[in-house]
């Protein structure tokens, strides 16, 4: 007997919620970024879990895709954050309000 799917989904939901709260309450762009990664990985976990439940590889393939895309996104995102930090000596997203209406 394998572990029931609900265990995986509960962990995944907890990770996703932690990530979401992190995105919403933190000001530091780096922390927000890490929280976003947490959300992504929560989704990856549920994808892999469903893949095992259905005995098909589609979900795992999709998880790999999302990891690759996430890696690329990290590169771009970190570069932006570093550049912003260099110019403004701050990584707080609340200071970046130039484009407000």
């Amino acid at each position: 007997m394998s572990t029931p799917i609900s265990y995986f989904l509960v962990v995944s939901a907890m990770l996703f919620s932690i990530g979401t709260i992190g995105v919403l309450v933190r000001k530091n762009a780096l922390i927000i970024f890490m929280s976003v990664e947490l959300q992504l990985n929560a989704v990856n976990l549920s994808l892999v879990a469903f893949s095992r439940m259905h005995n098909e590889l589609d979900g795992q393939v999709l998880a790999f895709f999302s990891m690759v895309v996430a890696a690329a996104e990290v590169v771009v995102g970190l570069a932006i954050i570093v550049t912003v930090y260099r110019r403004r000596r701050s990584a707080s997203v609340d200071d970046l309000t130039v484009l407000r209406g």
Partner: protein
């Protein structure tokens, strides 16, 4: 040579093209090229004249068809040139006097940086003028007609840096346009009634089938064009202002050729005018009134060129007067002779302007005969010719016309014309005495014009002296009258209240008396003419401002025009702009709502995403359940 007649307009056209494209590079050679081409056109015209003379007098009509121009249904127009005594006379005047004026302009425009452009325009003008006089149908004539108007505009405004020149050019163009609109309607009406625009067809039909009413309508509409172009009342206001152009332009376009196009049109269309009858009377009345009006206005001018401009208008009035009496050969004789002596007068005035550094006010001239003896002789010949002193050209031309009024039984017209002749002699002797005789009123020493500028004047002076003797000693048997007879008919010698000898005597006495009066007033120092405007401010004002017709027109056109403009401005600002701006304002107001939710805080957006996603999920979940 008759088949080569297309060369006559083509040569100046080529000159215009070359000077327009290469004028800058040619430099001073531009003027020589332009002059040579017009002179060549004159030579071809002379050749055509000789060919024409070789034929019998009734066969002197030659039409050269070049190509189909417009062909649409029953309407077809060729580009065709008509050579007959009337058109070749005009062509000879245009190219002959034109070449002399071109020659003069080489010296006159010597220092102008845009000399190439100037000669290009001048050549283009000669081209269009030749198209006008050689055209074999009304449409081609109209092309030339509009073309000379364009060149007139370009040349009046040649010194466009001066605001007065630019506005004078516009005024000339717009004013003549009023007449041209009527003329175009007249041409359409000819097509409606006759079905063709060829001169031959139109005149054949007109003599037989055209109703009097139709002929009157056509003639009066054509006359509107003629009045505009020839600066007759009531469309004359542009001519005095046109003197803003360079002096050779005034001589060529606004004295010798273009302004006489109206007279040519009336004579060319005389068949239509005669069928109408009424139209001919209108021509007579307009001509006579214009002649007297312009003569009085000329006496009030102190600008030498404006005085000459009103004199031109007055002389053309005499031509219209003659044409209105059916005395077409007399009108043509005056046209030709006037081209000689008025070109001479204008170019001599150009010498004075040249010598005095563009001073045009005669109050600051006087006694110039010491500085400019040769120019004095030229101006005296021209002025005395215009005044009607025998045996100069003007004497014969004017005497024939005034005399014809009497011999054809129009006694009132004769009296008015005689008064007009007296005034003509007075107004033209006035600039002669004011400029060259009397006391010197300018410290500056004038310098005489150089030789190359005097040569064309000598030629024109010679023509002025012998022109009348050669072309028309008597109204009926003069060379020009006999030559033109196949086109316009013979002159009938009537019996008036006075005998011929008496008429000539009166004419001479009137002219001599006027010149003596002019000398007494303006050169003898016995009359203080300079105080006249103070003594008689009203009369002087009426004369100097040409009876305030300019002001009247300005008032008539300006007030309704400005009122309309203001009304339209209100409509534009309130209604049209109001609608457009109103829509824009509403959109802008609405757009102020959007920034309320665009606070710039990333977390707000993230929260919005989350709430949206939750809402969507709830919605989907509830539906599935």
């Amino acid at each position: 040579m008759l088949d080569l007649i297309w060369l006559v307009p083509a040569l100046p056209l080529a000159g215009a093209a070359v000077n327009l494209l290469l004028g800058r590079r040619l430099g001073k050679a531009a003027g020589r090229l332009a002059t040579a081409l017009v002179a060549l056109a004159f030579a071809v015209s002379v050749g055509a004249l000789l060919d024409l003379l070789a034929h019998g007098s009734e066969e002197r009509v030659h039409v050269t068809r070049l190509f189909d121009w417009i062909s649409a249904g029953s309407f077809s127009v060729d580009v065709a040139f008509l050579v007959d005594p009337l058109s070749i006379t005009m062509a000879l005047v245009v190219t002959g006097v034109g070449a002399l004026i071109h020659l003069y302009a080489i010296g006159y425009m010597d220092n102008d940086p845009r000399i190439g452009t100037f000669f290009a325009y001048l050549n283009l003008f000669v081209f269009f003028m030749l198209v006008l006089v050689l055209a074999d149908n009304y449409l081609l004539l109209f092309v030339g007609w509009e073309g000379v108007g364009l060149c007139s505009y370009l040349l009046i405004g040649f010194w466009y840096e001066r605001p007065t020149a630019a506005s004078a050019a516009t005024k000339a163009f717009v004013t003549t346009r009023i007449g041209d609109a009527g003329m175009l309607l007249g041409i359409v009406l000819i097509f409606v009634h006759v079905g063709s625009l060829d001169f031959g067809v139109v005149f054949d039909e007109a003599a037989g089938e055209l109703t009097q009413g139709a002929a009157t309508a056509i003639s009066l509409l054509l006359l509107a064009g003629a009045i505009g172009k020839s600066a007759q009342l009531p469309l004359h206001v542009w001519l005095p202002d046109a003197m803003e152009g360079p002096t050779p332009v005034s001589a060529l376009i606004h004295a010798a050729t273009m302004v006489t196009a109206g007279v040519y049109l009336v004579i060319r269309s005389h068949v239509l005018f005669e069928v109408s009858g009424t139209a001919l009377t209108v021509v007579l009345v307009i001509g006579l009134i214009s002649a007297l009006y312009a003569a009085l206005a000329s006496i009030g001018q102190f600008d030498i060129k404006r005085a000459l401009a009103y004199s031109t208008m007055s002389q053309i009035g005499f031509m219209f007067f003659a044409a209105g009496m059916g005395f077409y050969t007399g009108a043509m004789l005056l046209l030709v002779c006037h081209a000689f002596y008025k070109a001479l007068l204008f170019l001599t005035a150009g010498n004075v302007l040249h010598g005095l550094h563009d001073e045009t006010d005669m109050r600051r001239m006087g006694g110039l005969r010491a500085d400019m003896p040769v120019s004095t002789v030229w101006f005296a010949i021209g002025a005395l010719s215009l005044a009607g002193i025998p045996p100069l050209a003007g004497f014969f031309a004017k005497d024939h016309i005034v005399g014809f009024a009497s011999t054809s039984g129009r006694d009132l017209a004769w009296i008015l014309a005689t008064i007009g002749a007296f005034l003509s002699a007075l107004y033209i002797a006035r600039p002669l005495f004011l400029t060259f005789f009397g006391r010197r009123r300018n410290e500056e020493r004038a310098h005489e014009a150089p030789g190359p500028m005097q040569a064309p004047l000598a030629a024109l002076a010679l023509l002025t002296v012998v022109g009348g003797l050669v072309l028309g000693v008597t109204p009926e048997t003069g060379r020009l009258a006999v030559f033109l007879e196949p086109v316009v008919g013979a002159v009938e010698h009537g019996e008036g209240a006075l005998r011929d000898g008496a008429l000539i005597a009166i004419s001479v006495v009137v002219a001599v008396a006027a010149v003596i009066v002019a000398y007494w007033i303006w050169a003898s120092e016995r009359v203080n003419w300079q105080a006249f405007p103070e003594r008689q401010p009203e009369l002087a004002g009426w004369l100097a401002n040409a009876f305030y017709l300019n002001a009247l027109y300005a008032w008539l056109v300006q007030f309704p025009g400005k009122g309309l403009g203001r009304a339209l401005r209100v409509v534009d600002e309130r209604v049209i702009d109001g609608a457009v701006n109103g829509v824009a304002d509403e959109v802008e107001d609405a757009s102020h709502l959007a920034p309320a939710i665009q606070r710039g805080f990333v977390r707000t957006y993230a929260l919005a995403f989350l709430l949206g996603a939750v809402a969507l999920l709830l919605f989907l979940g509830l539906r599935i359940v």
